[in-house]
Symmetry: C2
Subunit: 656 residues, 2 copies
């Protein structure tokens, strides 16, 4: 990795057996197609060290690269790569398809896979492949761990155009086609994004992304007609409010005619929404949808709606039920240009959650799955945590709603239109704080493009593209693939969730949520831990298809990695390995910590093969991770030892 | 209480049987004596509704008030009040004595105690009666619960001169004679307080306080020679550093010739100090003392020094030991103008702590006791918590170092020179947020003046002075006196300390400190709770005089209200009432909550007798207190129930 800033697009001369023609013909006329042509040339310069020659006509030229953006296909964003003895054809079913084809070609070239006879046709499984920014206008980033915002500073747009273009390139190179540019908690100056003064600036930003086939979303504040428009209300059924949104949409689209639409967090964790006017989510979403519809805009409406002022004494309310209870009854009632954004699990990006029961159940409502690339609960980009590992598990989850009902099979069909995810980038030179966390951004794009790709395949691609010394990638892949299980082991055990420090979501805070208003309790006592979510408890399991409901409701068939999400178990519950739950808690925490030690040793073995800056910066993070893993191990083990008085059966040290 | 702003100096016409002469003769020539004369006239106008006539000569005037500020006495700040049939003599052993005499006279007048034949001589027991402000230059106040700073805003001095004069009057009326004007954590612009630009402004502030006999202290940053002076070091033994401080002192005293001195938090919770140069506290304090000595200034050096990066696994280190371990070996090694400021207990203003063992033990070092008026751990001026209740306990603590060794007996002798305390005022109209918290400010002054005064006496004085409707004071006194025991009952039990929310020190956070770096652990497990601080444990008890050490070390003689500070006890430990520790924990929490309910009922009964604003604002706080008390009760009881599985023997509700 010559330069961390370049991520998986390193400026390094590769060797290839196939000689790439140095003449290029392109039919590019449109903006993105022209960018594709430019990206091709930049990529060849980067990887092979020469500048292709662009020709106006290609008759009679034998050795040539042909870029074509207008072949007939009903498949959106499709591309074909065809390599013959003398020619390379990169063809898109439209300008975006060509751009993706060029990037895939460059990637294959860097991976050493371009050879005579190669023929490849690909298209994205998911039409919507979105990045969410939780950047605030003051330059801070909610849950950001890689420096300040790349977009904003001191209450206004303030960015390096070159850097934004580099960012758009990185995103487009893995197929991202939508970016929401501001925090879903729309506060302070972010509320002004939709006034002319700021729209003028947003227009400039949109122009950079547009070249790369990326359209912008704005996060908007549902209370805007009241707070910004000075109307007496933001009631979605008030005609003046509807009119206000229509006029505002017209103004916005005057500046950005291809704006993708609005992203809305409403009635969630204190944000305004239709509930405060006794209206429904459909009322709220549809009024915005109607305002955007004339311009082709869409409304993405987040389903992260739950009672965030729960009384911990209340054992009837179950936050896990909330999204399904709120939105399932509304299935089919949203306008056509409304898309629901549903977090992958019922809680909030915990290390291990079941897949949310809305997936597969929603039949008549467009929706996307929300993942989280920024490592809010997964180590703050201090701890290494390779997220495609868990995403693969999610993709393989079978909702058992009809046939072919795995998440990866439902995607692009049955109304699941793709993904949104909070990104992990900031102004740090390496974009992601932890250099190896670049793999998460890369992996997100790859999975959004094709949910059937495996975590291992992604790790192979990414490590080869990023670490050009051929001795490095194999070990890096192994470290990546071990990192998630390691993190999971030293974290809250067996899907019990929320034992994290409430103040910043890093490090243990085992009882941090026990008496809070957030609805996330484990209720550990001297005998048992966990929430009974079976029909004898909160009944959450019944939100799943019958087979999954039955599987989760029985502690003997419920997957053990998630068993404490569904069941309240005694510490002497015997798990599949014949040991008690308590002993298993001890085991995984010792193992998780040891895994970190072992990953560090593996990383150290790479020292002679790595650029010093990369080696040292990752090592420094590993050392902080070790401190964190030790705290998790010791605090969790001590916590349960204090509760039970039972020691580890292998005699390992637990503090008292 | 006609106006909350006026506190215990209400503008109300009282009735008096004794007719106060309306002619006044004063010998005032000095600044403070003239202010005393002015205060006398203001007070008479406030209480009796007429303006006394000032005469230049008093020969042959039969009915007259005589103010005299120069009677001969070796006792500093002494005053005499003498009431004859026709004359009133208020006489001070100096200008400050006269001012205190005038204020005492006015107070007695309002209390209905001025009558023919009254003769009274008083002087303060403690020479140093200090208020600490933890105000920051940005206008925030560390641990402030009554609005923004009265001194600063946006990084600079910014105050209402009238308000500051009113504040100085309130302080002087209860005998306060020193005020430190900025946070002991000296950061941001507060570091600049000692440059000329800011000194010019501080000079103005000093002038206001000076009229009321109050001298200022500056909190300074020990690293100033380095951070401000750009020297390569702040090492106290570096001659250039000593020289820098001398020059700086000369500059400061050019602007404020009567500055009382510096208040210093060094090597404490991350603040710079001599340790970082491998120097001692004596090195650090004495270098400052030598700089101030030519100007009559003093250095107050805080003893709040402990390891704030403790590993919770480390059971050998005991934070309670720290102040004694650090400072006892230095006894006698400080310069004459150094005064140590020692928190009353070994931790940090917890609801119940033992009195710190340095008191009575230090023989050759000047020191003051630090109390806390602002309710950091005692309810944030949301919960009513009448602090003189606990201060009386502290004053009555017998150190058993020789005879007459109670704190109140040592004060003013044996080097205990008085008190410092973080104040509870801000820009709120009523100064203290909770109107009844004015009693804590009043009470602090009274105890600093005379540590033998009781909490009941203070409550009687304050309530009569503040609530002019004669039916109100009795009930207010009762509520005040019940409030501390109530708060203590629903808080961390039996002196175990630090079960408070770490984020803001309000409300329960039972395991909030268990795995943190602060050195304050209770280590509750399924069988027992508390830290063994006897010789079989950390040995902290041995820091006390032998009799106290023995008393604390034995669970049968240790006072129960502090027993979990000194002992690790099983939940089935039988307490004096014959019930187990666990049952007693349950009992006090139910009782404490019930007390709040009862205090609220009592307050409501006063509704017809109170000004609506006062009634409602206090009631609103009581309602918030009830929520807090309920959380404490339920969380503590649930916590121990989960740990033990043992229910309340009276069948009261504990949540699981």
């Amino acid at each position: 990795m010559l330069n961390e800033y370049d991520c998986w697009m390193q400026k390094v001369k590769i060797k290839t057996n196939y000689e790439i023609p140095n003449i290029v013909y392109s039919d590019a006329k449109s903006l993105v197609a022209k960018q594709a042509e430019k990206e091709y040339c930049l990529g060849i310069e980067r990887l092979l060290g020469f500048s292709p020659k662009i020709v106006k006509k290609h008759n009679n030229i034998k050795n040539i690269v042909l870029l074509n953006s207008s072949y007939a296909s009903s498949v959106k964003d499709e591309f074909t790569i065809k390599v013959t003895e003398n020619q390379i054809h990169i063809t898109g079913s439209g300008e975006n398809g060509l751009l993706y084809g060029v990037f895939r070609f460059l990637s294959l070239l860097a991976l050493g896979k371009i050879k005579n006879g190669l023929e490849l046709t690909e298209s994205p499984v998911s039409p919507l492949r979105m990045i969410n920014h939780w950047d605030n206008f003051d330059g801070s980033i909610e849950r950001g761990y890689a420096g300040r915002s790349i977009f904003y500073k001191d209450g206004d747009f303030d960015y390096d155009k070159t850097r934004i273009e580099d960012y758009a390139r990185l995103l487009a190179s893995v197929g991202i086609n939508r970016v929401s540019i501001n925090n879903v908690n729309v506060r302070a100056n972010a509320k002004l994004l939709i006034i002319e003064e700021y729209l003028k600036e947003a227009k400039e930003l949109a122009a950079i992304f547009r070249k790369f086939g990326i359209k912008l979303f704005f996060s908007i504040n549902f209370g805007a007609p009241w707070s910004l428009g000075k109307l007496p209300t933001a009631d979605p059924l008030d005609p003046a409010v509807a009119e206000w949104w229509k006029k505002r949409a017209a103004l916005i689209y005057k500046y950005i005619p291809d704006l993708a639409g609005f992203l809305v967090k409403a009635d969630s964790e204190g944000e305004p929404g239709p509930f405060q006017y006794n209206r429904t989510h459909t009322d709220g979403a549809n009024i915005l949808a109607k305002a955007l519809e004339p311009f082709g805009g869409e409304v993405i409406w987040r389903c992260f709606v739950y009672n965030c002022t729960q009384d911990w004494r209340d054992t009837k309310t179950d936050r896990a039920r909330a999204a399904f209870d709120h939105f399932m009854p509304l299935d089919g009632k949203f306008d056509k240009n409304v898309i629901l954004q549903i977090k992958f699990g019922p809680y909030d990006f915990q290390v291990r959650e079941p897949v949310a029961p809305l997936f597969g159940a929603l039949k008549n409502t467009r929706h996307v799955m929300e993942l989280q690339i920024t490592q809010e609960y997964t180590g703050h980009q201090i701890d290494l945590c390779y997220l495609p590992y868990i995403w693969e598990d999610i993709m393989n989850f079978d909702t058992i709603h009809g046939e072919n009902s795995k998440i990866k099979e439902l995607l692009g069909k049955k109304n699941i239109e793709g993904f949104a995810a909070v990104v992990n980038v900031g102004l740090d030179n390496n974009w992601t704080g932890h250099t190896l966390a670049q793999a998460n951004l890369y992996g997100y794009g790859r999975i959004a493009w094709n949910p059937a790709i495996t975590a291992k395949e992604i790790a192979e691609e990414w490590s080869v593209l990023s670490f050009t010394n051929p001795e490095v990638p194999q070990k890096v892949q192994e470290i990546l693939l071990r990192s998630y299980p390691a993190y999971e082991k030293y974290n809250a055990p067996f899907g019990v969730c929320f034992m994290v420090s409430p103040s910043n979501h890093y490090g243990p805070g085992i009882e941090g949520y026990e008496f809070s208003r957030w609805g996330t309790y484990h209720r550990a006592d001297k005998d048992a831990i966990g929430i009974d979510r079976t029909p004898s408890g909160t009944g959450y399991t019944a939100q799943y298809s019958p087979k999954n409901a039955a599987m989760y409701a029985d502690a003997n068939t419920c997957p053990e990695n998630i068993i404490l999400f569904f069941h309240r178990l005694r510490y002497d519950f015997i798990m599949k390995n014949g040991e008690t739950l308590l002993q298993n808690i001890y085991n995984i925490h010792f193992e998780g910590y040891d895994e970190v030690l072992s990953m560090i040793e593996d990383w150290k073995s790479l020292k002679p093969l790595l650029e010093n800056q990369v080696y040292e910066s990752v090592l420094a993070r590993f050392e902080r991770q070790l401190v964190n893993a030790r705290e998790w191990k010791d605090q969790i083990n001590t916590y349960f030892y204090r509760k039970t008085g039972i020691t580890d059966n292998k005699g390992r040290q637990i503090y008292s």
